[in-house]
């Protein structure tokens, strides 16, 4: 280290001189991650793999109705069964309570939130009570002995049915989330994700119905646009944009609700020992799940802050999260409460695939109607976007709002207006899923952009290029009295498009596209996508042990992205320690972990390489200070490399092992007895526990930055469609990632193509299906809701490729940004655009596409399917 830095850095950012990446020993290199062998050998233990003597098991009684109120429950016969230990309902759970973050920000109790169990089920499959027994079989039999009387309440599973005059409401209080105006000065910030700003005020549930006049165009597939329920935002002169346009398109597109489909269901195990609760479950952040558990269990200290001192959280392996396990899942409190009730005995709650379908959450469908003004070159002059978000039954999802911000970023309209509706339906709770809102924005706008390219005679890559963000591109609405718009740290999307077009041989293919042979036709598509790519301000913590090994404390969740290990390679490189002398300490808060970001919103690579950078600087400084103390001179006279701290130009020095020993002797700030003042409380606790074991380095990331960090992708796809059957498959796929410096190529490739595949799933078949008469889901199993398989992508034929620009971001010392979310939208929309290239613009108005819709479109000559019916 230092690492390559190009471009302009913000004031105050100490930019190390660029080095030749060829000199890097660790950063940008592939390596074997510390969890790999256990995974391939099946030795990795996920939450549900733990067993202990006397362990009890939980089964849940799920609501059979889409909306109802429990009138009475008779559990006497169940409790009388041998082996049944306890039954709990929502009345046994702690009530929602307000709490404070460590920054003193109030998190108000959300009385409408999902509590884990309920007496007013809001969707079929919502847990009503939990039975704890000696085995799952006994628990299941006990559930069948429970008499439950549920009063049915009105329900609705389709937002457009709920918005109609006289339509049913999903909640007793109403059918829409109505948001108060957002607080000022958060321009462009993704709501509620990352960052440390004040949380937005809680939305309220109100009844909103549109008029029959609003529904005038419904049958023709154009989305009605009644009064929106969130404050609209706009910038620029939209009227002038439409007046001056060479082409105006007004299109409606419906994106699907999709389950996260984590291979590991959200099983959880808990037990109590000596007043502490030990919790095992999957998570997207080991560190941040602890305060979440404290909040859910109502454990707060005298300052009303979550009391984390009584919680030990273990999560070494997580089988996927994709946004649905940001801090685990609230259902984990069920085994916690049962265990406490039963004297601390280990209680295991394994969730089945069907339960995961219900409780595992999903991406909210956003249906968008967008009117876009283009000039004759294809530049977007104005965009008027209206989005309706199917928010499920709990939590006001900001996907439609986020979709607007991402659209303004990716397509840089000169003027834009956003209006949105967030509608409540009696379907499972929604939550962020890889690129929340970003995925939907791209799915809604890309088909329109492809159509515009054809109508204007502009090359599809060119129309993306002309509208692509560049450098510190602005996005979103203005904020404050001067309506200042936010901007990103950097964007190299044009370079990504250029690189992709070249590698994909776009021009050559375009010249003969669509390519027809017999009943088969091939088409090509391109899409851009992007999403937030990092946050700042988290802590790094490492220990140089007296044997010279360096132990990196990692609070990052191990959900398969490998960032829990990757980011620490930055610090190892800076300290000049070979990787085989490094240990990663992760997955157990008993192992002294620092405060860490959640692995959501693609924050981790950016945020935690910054923390790694900060802690490496701290370690180096402490090593130099120790050397100066021992050998005389000033710290500046020393350098750190090759596992030694030594006087510059040669002379006295010591190994890291000796320095660690010396740190213990000196004590104070060097061995952890005096933690830095500005690190998080959790980090301080960990430092205190590590004190005296060697050189303890800890630091909070304070490197300045100016813009907001976003990552981008340019995606290309070719499809082949069989016009006699409607079947299609992807024959070629390429994603170019603009994610800054590459830290770990294999992990990056896994993310780029893995998340592309997640997006592809949205284009080719993954969906929910609901029977609207009963309001009940039908596609609950994998073979019904059809997540993509490896054969759905051209991986086997070697035609699924990726590359990274590897241009460092100028506003972060390591240059790396996150990657999880950005490729998702591109994976979906590149395929959609390839399909319309092959078959024409009128073939679809919703995703996913499937053989039936395509065949019917070809048969009837118009877009098939019920354009505005949810969950078909």
């Amino acid at each position: 280290m230092p690492i390559n830095i190009n471009g302009a850095a913000p004031a105050g950012l100490v930019v190390p001189k660029p080095t030749n990446p060829a000199e890097h020993k660790l950063v940008g290199k592939n390596y074997m991650t510390p969890d790999l062998m256990a995974k391939v050998q099946g030795k990795s233990k996920y939450a549900e793999d733990y067993r202990a003597d006397g362990m009890l098991f939980v089964k849940l009684l799920l609501s059979p109705v889409p909306h109802g109120r429990v009138r009475s429950v008779d559990t006497s016969a169940a409790l009388a069964m041998p082996g049944v230990k306890a039954i709990i309902t929502v009345d046994d759970l702690p009530p929602p309570a307000s709490s404070l973050t460590d920054a003193g920000v109030v998190i108000a109790a959300n009385m409408k939130a999902n509590r884990g169990l309920t007496n007013e089920p809001m969707y079929q499959g919502e847990p009503i009570l939990a039975v704890c027994a000696e085995s799952e079989l006994i628990a299941a039999e006990a559930i069948e002995k429970i008499k439950i009387d549920i009063e049915r309440l009105p329900f609705v599973v389709d937002p457009f049915v709920s918005l109609r005059p006289g339509g049913p409401n999903a909640r007793v209080e109403g059918n829409c989330w109505v948001s108060p105006p957002p607080p000022a000065a958060v321009a462009g910030a993704p709501a509620g994700r990352g960052g440390r700003g004040a949380p937005p005020p809680q939305a309220e549930v109100k009844e909103i119905k549109w008029t029959d006049a609003d529904y005038a165009e419904y049958e023709s597939g154009k989305m009605p646009m009644g009064a929106p329920n969130t404050p609209e935002w706009k910038y620029g002169n939209l009227d002038a944009a439409f007046k001056n346009a060479a082409l105006v398109l007004d299109e409606t597109f419906m994106s699907p609700n999709t389950s996260h489909q984590c291979l590991e269901t959200r099983s959880a195990m808990a037990y109590w020992q000596n007043g502490k609760v030990f919790v095992h479950t999957g998570t997207q952040s080991t560190a941040q799940t602890v305060p979440a558990i404290a909040r859910w269990l109502g454990m707060v200290d005298e300052k009303k802050q979550p009391d984390v001192s009584k919680i030990v959280f273990i999560s070494e392996y997580t089988g996927g999260g994709f946004g649905s396990k940001i801090t685990g899942d609230i259902s984990l409190i069920i085994p916690c409460i049962l265990s406490k009730k039963l004297g601390g005995v280990p209680v295991m709650m394994r969730l089945t695939r069907e339960e995961e379908h219900f409780m595992g959450k999903a991406r909210p469908a956003v249906t968008g109607r967008v009117k876009v003004a283009f000039n004759k070159e294809g530049k977007i002059l104005g965009m008027d976007m209206y989005g309706v978000c199917d928010s499920g039954c709990y939590d006001n999802q900001g996907d439609a709002q986020a979709a607007g911000r991402i659209a303004s970023l990716l397509y840089q309209p000169e003027a834009m207006r956003l209006r949105t509706m967030t509608v409540i339906t009696n379907t499972p709770p929604r939550v962020s899923q890889s690129a929340p809102g970003g995925m939907q924005a791209v799915a809604i706008i890309e088909p329109l952009l492809a159509k515009a390219a054809r109508k204007l005679g502009v090359d599809p890559v060119e129309i993306h290029r002309i509208n692509a963000p560049e450098g510190k591109a602005k996005f979103g609405p203005g904020a404050g009295p001067k309506q200042v718009r936010g901007y990103v740290t950097s964007a190299y999307l044009k370079q990504a498009l250029d690189k992709g077009a070249e590698e994909f041989r776009w021009a050559e293919r375009k010249a003969k596209s669509p390519q027809v042979q017999g009943n088969k036709v091939r088409g090509i598509g391109v899409s851009v996508s992007g999403y937030s790519g990092g946050s700042v301000g988290f802590d790094g913590l490492l220990l140089i042990k007296t044997d010279g090994t360096v132990c990196f404390q990692s609070g990052i969740g191990n959900l398969g992205t490998e960032s829990m290990s990757d980011v620490h390679r930055v610090a190892a490189e800076m300290l000049g320690v070979p990787w085989d002398k490094c240990e990663i300490c992760w997955g157990n808060t008993n192992k002294n972990l620092p405060w860490t970001c959640v692995s959501g919103g693609s924050q981790t690579t950016h945020a935690m390489t910054r923390s790694a950078y900060a802690v490496a600087l701290d370690a180096k400084q402490k090593l130099k200070e120790l050397a100066a103390k021992k050998f005389g001179g000033t710290p500046e006279g020393y350098d750190v490399a090759n596992e030694r701290v030594f006087r510059k130009g040669g002379g006295s020095g010591m190994t890291l092992a000796q320095a660690a020993q010396y740190a213990i002797e000196v004590g104070g700030v060097y061995d952890g007895h005096e933690p830095p003042a500005d690190v998080n409380k959790m980090t301080k606790t960990s430092i205190a526990a590590m004190a005296g074991q060697g050189l303890v380095a800890a630091a909070r990331d304070k490197a300045p930055h100016d813009g907001q960090t976003y990552s981008f992708a340019a995606t290309f796809a070719e499809v082949e469609v069989d016009k006699e059957t409607g079947k299609f498959h992807i024959t070629d796929f390429l994603c170019i990632a603009d994610v800054g410096t590459v830290i770990h190529p294999k992990a990056l490739g896994g993310q780029v193509l893995g998340r592309s595949t997640l997006g592809i799933g949205h284009a080719i078949g993954q969906k929910w299906v609901y029977d609207q008469h009963y309001g009940l889901p039908l596609a609950k199993r994998f073979y019904n809701n059809k997540p993509p398989t490896i054969l759905d992508v051209p991986a086997g034929s070697g035609n699924m490729n990726w590359a990274a620009l590897d241009i460092p971001d100028p506003e972060t010392p390591v240059g790396a940004r996150g990657i999880g979310e950005p490729p998702v939208g591109g994976g979906c929309a590149a395929v959609l655009n390839a399909m319309s290239d092959a078959l024409g613009d009128e073939i679809f108005r919703r995703a996913p596409l499937s053989a039936d819709l395509i065949l019917m479109s070809l048969e009837t000559g118009k877009a098939a399917g019920e354009h505005l019916t949810a969950h078909v």
């Binding site: 059979p64 109705v65 549920i150 049915r152 029977d771 008469h773 009963y774 009940l776």
Partner: protein, 272 residues
């Protein structure tokens, strides 16, 4: 074991879905038990039928030899109905006892025939026949009381002669009306749940509970009809009833039988 089979509705509620089909056997056994009981009663307990009044022999001689009892339309209706009913019963219940054939088309077509014939019958009976002749009147009820008392050895005046229909005929008709209307009305709505050229399918005209009750009523009336039809056939074939039964073929009864059992004043002449 019970009468009604319950199941979970998609919402997890217990709703009736139909009768238990063992009731088919119950109905058949009930019918057979009735035969046996009736034969025993006739053989060992029944007393000779006596009437309070009679038509003088001179008057009888003035009557035509054959007295018109059932018009041709009435007879046609009866036999159409009988054919439909037997088709309905066999198509409904044979599959339930293990005989596999494509029963539904037989069943619904016979059901439609039955329904149409019943509609015809109601119109015909209301406007072209003496509508009240089949319903028990005050005399019938009094006489039923008298017969009961006499059978128990108590003193009671002899019952009077019948109108067009003896009391048991009327009671049987009443039972058939109730069972028949139950099956046809429920069956009519069931037609909306299957593929016929008649209606657009819609299984959701009623809720789960109403549907279930409808199927239950259809089933109960259906198994009831098994017993009723068995009894009907039994009586029709009994030697002493053949004199009446033949009228459903030829339309007439003998004047002697007429004079003995029927009171001309109570048998009001009908239009053809």
């Amino acid at each position: 074991m019970g009468i009604i089979e319950f199941a979970k509705s998609p919402w997890g509620q217990d709703v009736p879905i139909h009768i238990f089909f063992y009731l088919i056997y119950v109905a058949v056994i009930a019918g057979l038990t009735f035969f046996i009981g009736h034969v025993i009663w006739l053989r060992y307990f029944a007393k000779k039928e006596e009437f309070a009044d009679s038509t003088p022999p001179g008057e009888v001689a003035k009557l035509p030899a054959e007295i018109k009892r059932h018009s041709l339309p009435a007879r046609l209706f009866h036999w159409v109905q009988a054919g439909a009913m037997l088709t309905l019963l066999f198509s409904a219940f044979l599959p339930k006892v293990g005989v596999r054939f494509e029963w539904l088309q037989w069943h619904w077509i016979a059901g439609v025939v039955l329904t149409v014939s019943i509609v015809f019958h109601i119109i015909h009976a209301s406007f072209f026949m003496n509508f009240w002749s089949i319903w028990p009147d005050k005399i019938d009820i009094e006489d039923a009381g008298r017969r009961w008392k006499r059978s128990q050895g108590e003193k009671a005046p002899a019952p009077r002669r019948f109108g067009k229909y003896p009391m048991e005929n009327k009671m049987y008709h009443l039972a058939i009306v109730l069972a028949g209307l139950s099956v046809t009305l429920t069956g009519f709505f069931m037609l909306f749940r299957i593929r016929t050229p008649l209606f657009t399918r819609n299984s959701y005209m009623f809720g789960d509970m109403t549907n279930g009750l409808m199927y239950t009523l259809h089933g109960l009336a259906g198994v009831g009809l098994i017993a009723l039809i068995m009894i009907h056939v039994y009586f029709a074939l009994r030697p002493e009833k053949l004199k009446i039964s033949r009228s459903m073929v030829y339309g007439t009864i003998k004047r002697e039988h007429y004079a003995e059992h029927h009171d001309p004043k109570r048998w009001v002449a009908e239009a053809e």
